[in-house]
């Protein structure tokens, strides 16, 4: 048995050394998020409104909350919705905050503001989201991460921390596909996903007719790109809003966008509390 142990230990050491050497060889400085992007989200995107049309393309009736579960406190707020009051208070952008913005019909223009910040402009409501990668600490992000009140004002778009998720190597043995036929096309190159977590929000509306989210809502998104064989590019944003105060089960939706060749249809419009 001691011989067996020796062989096993030797194998472990060899494997460990190989891995260690692989890690030591050619040390590479970490690449900036812009250079390391596994997918290219830049460009113009148009929202495709095939879902929730009745609550997105037009302003639904007051009291029409189909598809959303709210706490009694939230329902009371929604039932008191008054767009005139929002306009008078200068809060006509309440339905354009980050948890709702990607569902507002419109176009996105995505660019790199710098090597660590992805900038998402929305023509609907003329809003801008800044998705910051890495340990980019701002007073607001530090406070939000620590769960403390921020010293800076909360905003409609909040503070967004971004992270690339790259495709995972080492597919478990039982999930590796059986040998493909000789004439099968090769597997496409690996892609990735963008994960964004947004906090420090200003309280707003998930829908135009006053369905609320609180300032403590946390928005978690996964942005997934899909390049079709015909050249079209589609974007699905898996969107999770956690807000126990107003949404007992949270809210999960996945709006879809299609890439456009240019910005010829870019049409900035101001926030509206009524339309």
């Amino acid at each position: 048995m001691s011989r067996i142990l020796c062989v096993v230990v030797a194998a472990a050491i060899v494997c460990g050394l190989v891995r260690l050497e692989a890690q030591r060889g050619n040390p590479q400085p970490p690449r900036a998020p812009r250079a390391a992007a596994p997918i290219d989200l830049t460009g113009y995107w148009v929202s495709i409104v095939t879902q929730d049309w009745r609550w997105r393309m037009v302003t639904p009736a007051k009291g029409d909350y189909q598809g959303i579960q709210m706490t009694p406190e939230a329902r009371k707020i929604a039932d008191a919705w008054d767009p005139a009051s929002d306009e008078a208070a200068g809060e006509q952008c309440r339905s354009y905050g980050a948890p709702a913005l990607m569902s507002v019909p419109g176009r996105l223009h995505i660019t790199w503001q710098d090597d660590t910040t992805l900038k998402v402009d929305a023509d609907a409501g003329t809003q801008t989201r800044l998705l910051r990668f890495g340990n980019v600490q701002t007073p607001a992000s530090a406070a939000a991460t620590a769960g403390k009140p921020a010293d800076v004002p909360r905003t409609w778009q909040g503070v967004s921390e971004a992270q690339w998720l790259t495709a995972r190597p080492n597919v478990p043995l039982q999930l590796r596909p059986a040998d493909r036929t000789a004439d099968a096309p090769p597997l496409r190159p690996a892609g990735g996903s963008l994960r964004v977590v947004t906090r420090n929000l200003r309280a707003g509306y998930l829908r135009k007719n006053g369905v609320p989210y609180s300032e403590n809502a946390v928005l978690t998104e996964h942005w997934d790109l899909y390049k079709r064989p015909n050249g079209e590019e589609w974007l699905t944003i898996t969107t999770q809003v956690d807000d126990p105060r107003y949404l007992p089960n949270g809210r999960l939706i996945a709006p879809v966008f299609k890439k456009e060749p240019n910005g010829s249809k870019w049409d900035p419009t101001p926030c509206s509390a009524r339309w």
Binding site: R19, K62, L175, A184, A190, G191
Partner: protein, 303 residues
């Protein structure tokens, strides 16, 4: 070979595998509970084609549809095309189909549920059948990984309705699924293309959550039975509405003030600029009475 040698080999294998970096695996197996909040199957009005990129033929087909036609034995299973995986109410029960000899993955399987056919996603590169091959309600599906996303393409499925009795896909349609897992959430994006009834791709999404307490609803195939004696006695009878005669044509307009041209769908209705055509025509309806539509807490999707 001595008795010890296989044990030594097995131990060495275990040790070497453990030295491989541990990473999360993209495993789709399990039961996925439907948790998405989109309105895929929530329409109440018989004529609700909002945001559906129907062609003129697709619109005519949708408006000729009488739900009583589902009682005809040859039509009873037509509401379960591949799109039903997204618009239907059931969970996804996903398992693997291993090669019987190598045990490598041959296919993913989504179990049938409540009359929907099972979906087998072949991963071994086999081609799709000839276009003249028989069609089934579930169709024929192949898949491949693109990074961590499983892309599956389904062809050879029969005509079926694509949004709970609202709009149809023909037997020439193609359905592309994208299965993307993020921790315990699975996002499925469905892209339906149809040269007959759609003018542009119809895209829907649904989100599922992995559950350890799966629904044990019986898994049954769609089995046609004779429901209405009058259809059995007169097999030539097909319940339908003639052009312009659908009795619920104006229900959405009367209830929600949405112009009829929008209710009837079309590719232009799914783009943001369509709102400009609505702005001067639309007036929000009167407030809903307290306790009217939705808004209460409870299980996801229970509306």
């Amino acid at each position: 070979m001595t008795f010890e040698q296989p044990r030594i080999a097995a131990l060495i294998t275990v040790v070497m595998l453990s030295a491989v970096p541990l990473v999360a695996q993209v495993d789709l197996t399990g039961t996925w509970q439907r948790v998405g909040g989109n309105d895929n199957g929530a329409s109440n009005e018989p004529v609700d084609l909002l945001g559906m990129p129907l062609s003129a033929d697709g619109r005519a087909k949708a408006l000729s549809y009488d739900i009583a036609s589902l009682s005809a034995t040859e039509r009873q299973c037509q509401m379960y095309p591949p799109m039903y995986a997204i618009v239907g109410p059931f969970p996804l029960q996903i398992s693997t189909v291993p090669d019987s000899i190598t045990q490598k993955l041959l296919a993913w399987k989504i179990a049938g549920w409540g009359d929907r056919d099972e979906t087998v996603i072949w991963m071994d590169g086999r081609p799709h059948p000839s276009k003249n091959a028989p069609h089934s309600h579930g169709g024929f599906t192949t898949g491949e990984w693109e990074g961590d996303t499983l892309t599956a393409v389904t062809t050879h499925f029969k005509l079926g309705d694509i949004k709970r009795h609202r709009g149809f896909s023909s037997d020439r349609a193609t359905m592309t699924y994208r299965f993307t897992r993020h921790e315990d959430l699975l996002t499925v994006t469905g892209i339906l293309e149809d040269p007959v009834y759609l003018a542009e791709p119809f895209v829907l999404t649904q989100i599922f959550r992995l559950t350890t307490n799966p629904n044990s609803f019986p898994l049954t195939a769609c089995e046609p039975i004779e429901e209405l004696p009058r259809l059995h006695e007169n097999p030539a009878l097909v319940p339908h509405y003639l052009p312009g005669k659908h009795p619920a044509l104006n229900e959405m307009t009367e209830r929600y003030n949405i112009p009829l041209e929008a209710v009837l769908g079309g590719p232009e209705t799914m783009y943001p600029e369509y709102r400009k055509r609505l702005k001067d025509k639309y007036v929000p309806p009167a407030p809903v009475a307290p306790g009217g539509r939705g808004g209460r807490g409870g299980a996801q999707g229970a509306q």
